[in-house]
Amino acid sequence: MGKIEIDELRCKGCGLCTIACPQKLLSLSEKINNLGYTPAEISDPSRCTGCALCAEICPDVAILAFKNKTVAHK
């Protein structure tokens, strides 16, 4: 089980996280943030494994990732 937090104000809507997510949970939303970009959003948070690959590939460090301690391996 995992969880991510997307900083919608910092996201520039590049969409790189959408291709990095192994579960294909991320997409760009239709709403527009204060920079004029459409930030990423997660569709089904319960399926997030906390692998943090979306956070790793994000050029703007706009995603923080969390993982359940019981299954964390590092």
């Binding site: 969880k3 050029p59 703007d60 460090v61």
Partner: protein, 247 residues
């Protein structure tokens, strides 16, 4: 829940000026993570170049010297020799390092200065409007090669990592990319290894990181990201070219 990804301490919590999909932000973060890992933040002096990487001082929570265009390895040489206890790295683009700064990088590398060079190759002059750089691929259209780079007139793109590998003074040279999770995790490993060379005083280390420039390539971020792993990685082969230390 345990936090498995957080912002590195060495990276300031600010918005960057980089375009959406630009890999500079990712490479900045990997460099900051490596500084955190070795605990060198307090004694690091970064040397910034001219180009999109010019605002290094605004993004890293370290001391930074701003070098004239292309001269970062020469400035870094002076910084490291004056303050041998400091950790010194330069962060340069391809218009800076491979064009106007060719003399400085080759001689700093040949002298085997105990510094680390992070070279970001996006095949174009990013900040000034997408002009042709020495690393521009043959056939690539830029604002100064509107019909595509012509090898007969402009020569072939320079492979800096391979070129520097031949110099005796270079201890470590690798080319990495951050376009997908696999390459990114490898890039993280190689940047840390390059930093370790300097932390242990093993000599000159060089990282060439392939980067996307969606704005000047006229592509959306996803297509530009694909170009890095395709056309660019075909010509600029990823890998470790020189690794002289054993650790």
């Amino acid at each position: 829940m345990q936090q498995v990804f957080k912002r590195p301490v060495s990276l300031k919590d600010v918005q960057t000026h980089f375009c959406p999909g630009c890999h500079h932000g990712t490479i900045h973060r990997l460099v900051a993570e490596a500084m955190d890992e070795f605990g060198v933040q307090q004694r690091t002096i970064g040397v910034a170049s001219v180009g999109c990487s010019v605002f290094l001082y605004g993004y890293f929570d370290i001391d930074v010297v701003e070098a004239p265009h292309g001269r970062a390895p020469a400035v870094a040489t002076g910084v490291k020799r004056a303050r041998p206890d400091s950790f010194v790295f330069t962060y340069q683009g391809d218009g800076d390092l491979a064009a106007i700064g060719t003399a400085e990088i080759i001689h700093a590398a040949n002298r085997g200065e105990d510094i680390t060079v992070i070279f970001v190759n996006n095949t174009t002059y990013g900040m000034t409007g997408g002009q042709m750089a020495p690393t521009t691929l043959v056939g690539q259209k830029t604002s100064t090669s509107p019909y595509g780079r012509n090898q007969a007139k402009d020569g072939a793109p320079i492979r800096m990592a391979e070129l520097l590998t031949q110099l005796e003074g270079v201890a470590f040279a690798a080319r990495v990319a951050v376009n997908n999770p696999r390459n990114l995790l490898d890039a993280k490993k190689q940047i840390k290894r390059a930093f370790r060379y300097q932390v242990e005083g093993k000599g000159f280390s060089f990282i060439e990181a392939l980067s996307a420039c969606p704005t000047n390539w006229g592509m959306n971020p996803i297509a530009a990201n694909e170009r890095v792993g395709g056309e660019m990685a075909d010509y600029f082969k990823l890998g470790v070219y020189k690794d002289t230390a054993e650790f």
